[in-house]
Structures are given as C-alpha cells and as structure tokens.
Subunit: 359 residues, 4 copies
C-alpha cells in the first residue's frame, strides 16, 4: 500500500463521544461519516453542547440508543459535503443543526409536526450518530439545517438547535402566552429558562418561576422573571394564589418531568388556563378531573418540532432574544468528558449550558 | 280576610319538582317566584326536560343542592314579568332558557366564559330554584335568555338549553373537529349524541361511536356515525387502530365521566390529536404522560358556557341541526315523577331526552 | 439507421395541446418529457380537464406563456418514471396532480404557502409544459403529487387538482365560514360552485348565490344554495339586505374577477364580516374605505396553495364532498379542440367542467 | 325662592367644551348631567385629553355632531353617582372611561364587537355629551368603565381610553404581528405611535416607521422603531424593499387615513402579509387587485372595540407598556381652548397627546 492510501485513510477518521451502554462513554476514534443518500449533508461541527437528554441516555433510560452510538443532537458547523439532491446548502456554508430531522414530504412534516416525521424526527444521537463529534451526517439536509446569518454569534445559535425551540414551542406557544397574562413556570433548569426567555416575546404581565434551587431562581430574576417561589421552602400553591388574587396562572409550564411537578401545575392553573407540558416523563401522573372537569382548562404535550427555528433566528438576529445568556461554561470539544462532568453536576457547578468548540 | 285576598294568594302558588335530600323528590306546591332584582325575569315554563345531572343530584352527588330546591336547568317558556332593567325581553316573549346564567359584565362573561360568571354560572336547579316548575325566576335575563324565533318548534329548542351547547362546546369546539378528520366519541348517551350531531357541522370524514349499549350504537348510526364499536364486546383500541390505519383518532370526545373511559381516550388519540372531556368526573384519572409527553396532544375540559347558543339557534332554524331527534318520550309536566322514572332507566326504556309540557 | 432506432424514436413522441400565441392552439406531436432532476416524475395522463385560466392564456392575457407551451395544470395519471430522489412514488402509482408545484423546502413551502414556492408555484401549463398531453413532467414530485386512494373515482379527483382547493382555500377558508353563518357567493361559475360545495363543510345557515345566469343559479340550488339572486334582473344589494335582516352576509366570496363584482361584495358584507377574493383580476377596483374603515371587515386575496389537498381527498373518499357533480361533459383527450370549444361557450353549452380521457 | 334652592341650582351647573358648528367651540356653562337610566353612572372628570377626531368634528367632517354637543371621549375620573342597576361601581371609585360604550347584551357586544353595540358604540362627544367637561354621564356603566388599579398613574391611563386600544386592536391585533416579523407603520402621529408601542408586545424583529415629519420619526426611534423612513425625502417603497431583502413587510399598518397612504401600504406588504387600516378615511382608495389577487394578503378595517382594555391595563400596571410617553403637554381643564390650539398645531408644537386636569 502506498503512502497516499494511508493519507486518505487518516482523513476518514475522526474523534467522537461514543455511548457504550449505561454509564459508559468515551472520546474515541470513529469513521468519519459519508453521504449515504442524495439528500444527506456532512457537517464539520464547530460548536456543540450537551443536553439533559444525553444524561438520560447515559443513565440507560433511552433503550433505543445502542452501544457504539455517537451522542449529541445540537450544534453549528460548516457544510463539508452536500448530496446531489441538496439544493439549499453547499460546501462551506455555515449551518445551524436542528435536533429534529425533517424530510419535508411526509404527512407530519407537511402539517408542521416535524417531531413525528416518518423519515426523521429525533434521530441524531439517538437512532443515528450525532453531533458530539468532529463530523456528523445530516439526513434530509435541506429541511433539517438552517443558514447561519452572516455576522452571527455562532455560540448563541447553538441554543437554537433544541433548547430554545423546545422552551418556546412546547412551553410558550402551546401554553398560549398572551400580553398581560400571568405565567408560572415550574422548573428553572435550562429548558424552563428557555421558556422564560421566549415567553417575553408576548409581554405577559407576570412570569413566576418555581424551583427548589435558589441559584436558579436568582438566575431567573436576571432573565426576566417578575417573581420567584422556592417550592422547597414555601407552599408554592398558596404563594401563587396570593400573587394572583386567588385566581391562579393563565399559563403553567411544566419543565421538570415528574408526577409531583405535573400535579403541582394542576393546582396552579386558573380557570380557562393552560398547562403546557415540556417535561420528559417516565411515569404516569394523576389528573384531577374531579375538579378540573369544570375548570375549562387545556393541557398540552409536545415533542419539539423546531418548526419555529426560522422565526427564532430572526429574534436572535434582531436582539429580541439573548440566547447566549444560557451559556455558563466553555470547553474544547476534546475536553467533552470533563464537560459532561460539569454539566452532570449542574447545581454544584451552577451550570446551565456548556459550549464545546471543535478547534 | 276577603275572597280577593285568597284569589291573590292562590295565584302566587305553583307546582314544582322539589328535592328533599338524596333519593327524595316530590311534585308539590311552592311559592311562585317574583322579581328580586331589576335584571330578573319571571318565565312561565311551557316545556322542560330532565338532565343526567338531575339524577346525580338525586344520588346526593352534588351536596350544594339543599333540601327544598326546585330542580331543572333547561326549558322554554313565556316571559311573565320582566324587571325594570331588562331591555331585551318583555311580557309575552317566547324564550329559550340557558342552563348557564350570565351577568354579561364580569371578567369571565366578557371573555365568553359564562360558566364561570361571578354572578351566575350554573345556578338554576342548583343554587337557586330551577325550571322543573310552572314558573322560574331567571337572573340577568338579558344575557341568560334567548328569543325563540317565530315559527320554531319549541320542543326542539329545549335541547339547546344544555345538551347541545354542551356536546358542541365541550366536545366539538374544544375537540377542534375539522373537515376530513376522524372523530371518536366515547359514550353514546344524550351528550355523546349531541356531540355526534354537532360534530357534523365540520364534515369530519369518520365519526366512530364507542359504547357498550347496542341500542345506543344503533341510534348513533341513524344520527350520522360512520362506524360503531361496542367496547364491551370488542377491543375498542384495536378496532379503532384498524379503522384508522393504526394512527388513532384526530379528536376523541369523552362523554361518560369515569376514569376507565378517560384512560381509554388516551389510547385512541392520534399524535397531534385532541381529547375533549365532557364527562362530569367524580374521581381522578391516570394520565399516561410516560407516553403522551411526546405525542403532541391536547386535552381540554369545559363546563358549558352556552356562548354558542345564538349560533346553534341559527343551525336549528336553517335545518342544519335536527335537535328533535334526541327526544324519545313526552309527558305532562305534572307527570314528572313518572318521567324521572323513565329517564332514570334510560337503557331499559331506550330513553334519550324526555319532554315535559306544562299544559 | 436501423428499425430499432425508429422504434425508440417513436416511443419518445406524444400528442399534446400546444399554445402558439393568442387564439392559436393545436393538438400536435411533441417530445415525450424526460426526468431532468432527481426529484422529477413523469406521469402518463389518464384524465385531464380545461380551466378558465387556459381560456385567459388563449386570449393572450398571460404573457409569460410562450409559443410552443403545452397547456393544462390539472389531471390524474400513472407514474411512468420517478427520479432517483423521489421516495413517495414509484412507477405504476396512480396519482393526482396538483396545479401548484411545491418544493417542500423553501420558506414559503414551510409556511404552507405553496403558491409562492421559490422553486415552483403555478408553473404547469404556464412556465413549463402542462397536463393537456399524454405525458407530463412533474418537478418536486414528492410534494406535488398525491396518491389516488384505492377504489377512487378518478374523474371526481380531477376536480381536486385546482378548482376545489381554489374554491375552498381562497373562498371558504379565507372567508372564515362558520356554522350558522350567512355566506354570499358572487359568481356561480365552476369556481363559485366549488366554494358553494366546500362551504357546506362548515354548516352555514344560508348560502346565497348571485349570478346573472339563471341556469347556473338553478345548478346552485341543486348544489346546496339556500337562496339565489339574479343580479341582472334584480338589485342584489337590496335583496340580500332583505334576506339578512338588513345586516349583510358574514362571508362574501368574489368568484368573478372584475371591479364591478368586487365592488358589489363591499355592499353585501356585514359589519365584522369577510370578503374573500378568488377572482383573477386584470384591473384595480375601488375600495370604499370612506364607509368600510369603521365596519371591522377583512378582505383576503389568495392564489391557491393546494395545501388542503390531503384533507379534500379525505372528504371525497368519505363522501362528504361529491366533486363529480361539477363535471358536465366528457371527451377523449384527442378531442380536446372540440372540448375547448364546448368549455369556451360554457353558458350556451351549460358546461361546468369537462373531462378529457387519454384512452 | 330660598337660598337653599339657589345652592342646589348652583351644584347642577358645570363647565364644558361645547361644539357650536364648524370651527366654533367654547368653554361654557352647561347643566351637570344626571342619571337617566338605572345602568348610567355620572363621573366627575379628573383628567381628559383631545383626540384627532375632535379636530375632525370641528372641521365639520362629522355631521352627526350637532350644535350644543359637549366634545370628548377619553378620560379618567371618579364615580359621582351610580344608577340603581350598576353593580360593578359605586360612588368614589376611580374609573377609566372607554371611548366606546358597550351594553354587554346585544349580539355585537356578545361577540366582542363593542364598536357596533346596538345601544352604544362611539357615542361620547358624538351622539351624546362627552368628557371634555367637569362631569359626564356614562351609559351602560358596568360595561363601559374600568376600575383604575390602586396606585396607578392616572395620566398614563387616559391613553387607554382610545389611543392605545385603537393602535393595538386596529393595528397590531388585526395586523397579526408575530415574533420575528417585519412591521411597517405608515404615519407616526399619536395613533401610529400607539401601534408602535403595542406592536412590541409581540417582539417583531423590525418596526419601520414611515412619516414625512423628522421630529415624529425621531420620537419613533425613542419609542422603539428599528428603522425610520421619511417618505417625503426618499422613496419609501424602494427603501423598505431594501431593508427587507426585497420581500416587503409582514404587517403594514395604515395610521393616516388618506388614499395615498393606503395605496402606499399596498406596495409595502409582503406576499402572505397583512395591511391593517386604522386611518379614518373620507374618500375611497384604489385597490390594486390586478397584482394583489395572487399575493395572499389580508386587509382589515376596524373601529376600535376597546375589548382589550382589561389586558392593556395589566400591561401598564406591569410596566410592559409605558403609555405616559405619549403625553407631551399639560393644561388645566379650564385652559382647554389653549390646549386645542396646541394640539391643533401638533407639528409646530411637537405635540402628541395633551393632558387636561380638572383641578
């Protein structure tokens, strides 16, 4: 074999964060992805991050993720190669990667429900290799990538891969937030904070943040919460009723994912109001229909569709949304094991989102 | 005392169906109601009916109803006297009585949520005397009565006091029924049938009725159901999945009010679909968030607002809605005890709604 | 040259209706289309029709249509060949052709505004060769064709290529037709009748058809109009005011396309109502803002998006919509010149839509 | 006659701004209003203002206003006397007066179209005596007044009588402003500025203000406009196209009321966009249907309903809306003639809204 062969061979390798079963991950060499379908694109990752869902996977809670899978479903990067049927993007374009892959031509995609795309949905770092790597293959690239506007802060845009559309679509849009409303958000983690930031698009009168962590409540205040309630230290229902003239909140956003918090939401919502669930739940919850049947309420669930990404890009560009506030820590991509440790101890580290840069 | 006095006295008495605690009711003499507020009207009942809620009251399930209360919240009649501030109605006008009393000037009324009216809501036959009587006092008459269009079939209109707005608002409107959709209705009692009739305003492709009573299912077919499932004799979930290409129904309407049927609804709804609860629930239900969190569904509850009564009147007048089909039995008002017996054994009697005429 | 060469050559020819400048058309031999892009499909036409727009083109009103263009933008057929990136369809599939070509991946398509697709829109029989031919090339086939459901009446489906989505989207949906409403439709040609048929999805109380042709008004009655007004023989405004208690119509649909009828619509609409324009206008109209500014009205315009085609297919399959009623005449595709003559004299021939069959 | 009689007589007089035909007005003595209906309230005015409409009346443009009419339809005050059927308010309550009188019980009021109330609408300072007086009679007080929240800045609330609901309902709500959108507002007078302020409830990316007055454009910048165009000095269409990548604005708000500006709006709106008319027009405008028919646009008109007043009150209280910015001048109520002079030369005086205080 010639030197040229080895040279070529070397180019085809890359480093990636690989899942090897519950609690096992490593930063290791993998084959660089290649175009498999004419609608694929290969993206060189420049910035990526870690999601709470990645921690769930590592706990073994998402059994569809198998040994050897590269994790990650967020990031920005540069088009390395575009398949022959890709028309929106070409080599060298800077792109935002959506956590949801959309084919654009199944019934669900046509209805804007990309989360349920028959040929996509949430597959990155789940059913196919993801973005915590030097390169990633993006299927249906024309519908699953977005142009990074010239002059953008690319770190800020990483927040648009998942967390901001999730907080906005599942929490704010589904929650039907309106000017003058009272909004309660249960859970001040990154997703709850993403709802807090994007709820302000609609000028609610009050946004009341509820969480047991005082640090997160203090961050919430900085991000625009008008009131905070530490529900470990005080009776959240009593406090919210007091703040709302005994009516409850027009919109209640569940951003935790356990039965207790979903049940709390039921006690917080005003007649005529909405409970918008964002939390990823592993267990059923009790629904108090014996009182709620007559309260004219709406409850919604949603896996993010990322159908609002073009709109969110405009709000970031026009500085209506400062998504960068969500970033607390920076690492090199090669330091991802350390970054997982930081993100995995979010309370201790006062971590929200970490940025991993592929230098 | 003079004869005149007694004459006057006699005029002031009437007959009414009076609740005397669980399982006790009687058709007895009561004082005829009088105008108490300038916004009140006194209506002479010409036609009334019995509601499933009246049976609940008689079981003792509605403790706010106290001994001595005249039952009933539905009916048509003639204005006997109008208070000084009533401007929409005058003595002699034929009127439809809404089961919901609306003041028209509290926050909830202004938002169209009459069910939560701060000065009304469901009070007739509940917190104040009701319509199963020769006369009834209607507070906030201008906003709680509707003119009977000239030439109307007044029996047909009795169905607009409660059952049709309930089936329509809580089931069809909240359920977001659209042309071409698949609708499943769990419960083929009068309310479920009211949803079936009014769902057809929106031309859904399929309306699948689910009930354990074959007679009701056969009535459903006559009323426009495209498919029926006897959920005692077959697996409703399997059958519905088969009928919908394994997708589920876009809208599922709960018209029973027990945990089992609400939980069934959760298995019937398609991703992106809606469960609209109409049932009056006495117990909590289990909400399967562990699967539904990612299904992009909406669940609604609602106490009927009767805000669509003017619209429903137009659909009856224009024969888009044949509300009379819901009437299976006729009685004189004075035979109301017998009517209760018939309605109380609805399955045996094949009863839907009974009409009581004050002759 | 060998016989084989000629055989091959022959296969590559087809017959088509070709535009040769104002008032000139011929049924002549053309090259059979071939796949040009991986997203193209070639469809063998089985049924097609003629649109009022084709007559406009032949008058020279649509200058973008150049000499040599094959006309036609409606039809059903069978996939002859699918490009390498087409995944929804394969050779032999029966398909409905949308008059609007949609790429599924530009901003407009993602927003459901296929009419403004940056890579499509109305191009068939306009900017590229159309469907009045034995074969047609359909770009972006996955998003521009629809599967014909097994067992469908394919003639009935030809009405879904253009006329029914146009009447429905531009007239009924934009017109916000609701149960109990009063709808006035100005123009009882095929498009007005398509609005009439699909308005009934929403159970309006009254649909008043306005046209100067008594035959079309009598067809309107058969199609579900509750009232008709011959606006040549009577004062349409006075008559409509009389029919609506002097209020006007909640929805007014303009289905003609001249200033006079658009101005008539302004006199027919009730306060709070909507004027939905469908007509293809060649001149400006006068907008009476001096009175309308305070009438809380909405005026809409729309080039059909065909975004409701999947829904309309369901309503045809479930027999909520009898689209076949619009078909009055049948011809062989090879008799298309005669068909144009019939369709071009619609009043004389009492023609609505003609079906051309490629036998 | 006794002294007591004269004392009583004196109390029954007040001062008011009275219209005496085109160009004639005076500050003169009038009878103090009295309760005429049980639903009336008498309000002692504390703060009022002058509207552009008052100037129109004084030009003779509103012929329904007759000699002797007290002008004015805005203000805050204190309940002096409440009719017997008024239940929401009592003597001494501080109230905001809506420019629209709503009975709460006609069809229009029930639909939220208070502007078309069959027993009210815009009547103050128009068909009945208005608010530029020491006292005013408010019919249907329960539905036409709003409680001033404790601790409010009452001057700021005067802006909620008319100008802010007008800018918000007719411009922003009807204009369907959404996060990330581009909004163009034609006319930077008080109403256009009210739209500018309230458009920001929905976080549009760009708000482009168009006016020929540089002072108003500079005020617009302070109020949140992202771009301004002086349409006397530059080509507004060319400039806007340049700012929007040649697309046009998603929402265009007409806040002038002449044919030229309405026609300008038609050149500014993007396909799929909305033109929301606020302007009070005296003449028809030309509607360019020959191009707009295919642009999928919406045009709306609206007389303000003030149905959003409760919501706007919440946004003022929660400091999402600084309505006080609109106030440029202060006068005593008795100086109203001078205030009219200032307001009538708005450009010269750099006047937006004036506040008149009844001391």
């Amino acid at each position: 074999m010639t030197r040229a062969f080895f040279a070529t061979y070397k180019i085809k390798k890359m480093k990636a964060l690989v899942y090897h079963g519950p609690a096992k991950k490593s930063w290791e060499e993998k084959s660089k992805p290649v175009v498999q379908q004419p609608t694929d694109a290969i993206v060189r990752i420049t910035k990526t991050t870690i999601c709470g869902t990645d921690l769930h996977i590592l706990k073994g809670d998402v059994p569809e993720v198998t040994d050897g899978r590269i994790l990650g479903h967020e990031g920005v990067g540069v088009i390395e190669e575009a398949g022959s049927a890709v028309t929106n993007f070409k080599k060298g374009d800077h792109v935002l990667i959506s956590c949801i892959t959309s084919c654009g031509k199944c019934d669900y995609c046509k209805r804007g429900m990309y989360s349920h795309c028959e040929n996509g949905g949430w597959i990155l770092g789940h059913l196919i290799d993801g973005t915590q790597a030097e390169y990633v293959r993006i299927p249906h690239a024309d519908n699953s990538l977005y142009h990074v506007p010239v002059g953008s802060d690319e770190e800020a845009l990483v927040m648009l891969s998942d967390i901001l559309p999730t907080g906005f679509e599942c929490g704010v849009l589904n929650g039907n937030v309106k000017p003058g409303d009272t909004v309660a958000i249960v859970g001040a983690g990154p997703i709850g904070l993403a709802s807090l930031l994007t709820a302000q698009f609609y000028a609610p009168a009050e946004i009341i943040m509820i969480d047991p962590d005082d640090n997160r409540l203090s961050v919430s205040k900085k991000f625009g919460a008008t009131q905070t309630i530490n529900n470990q230290k005080s009776d959240a229902v009593a406090k919210l009723k007091e703040l709302t003239g005994n009516k409850g909140a027009d919109t209640v956003i569940e951003a935790v994912g356990i039965p207790e918090t979903f049940e709390l939401c039921q006690s917080l919502v005003a007649p005529g109001g909405t409970i918008a669930n964002i939390g990823v739940h592993g267990k059923p919850a009790t629904l108090h229909l014996e009182s709620l049947w007559a309260h004219n309420i709406t409850i919604t669930t949603r896996l993010v569709d990322t159908v609002t990404t073009p709109m969110l890009l405009k709000t970031v560009q026009s500085k209506k949304l400062n998504s960068k506030q969500l970033i607390t820590h920076h690492f090199k991509l090669s330091e991802i094991i350390q970054a997982y440790d930081t993100f995995g101890h979010a309370a201790r580290e006062k971590a929200l989102k970490v940025i991993l840069t592929n230098e």
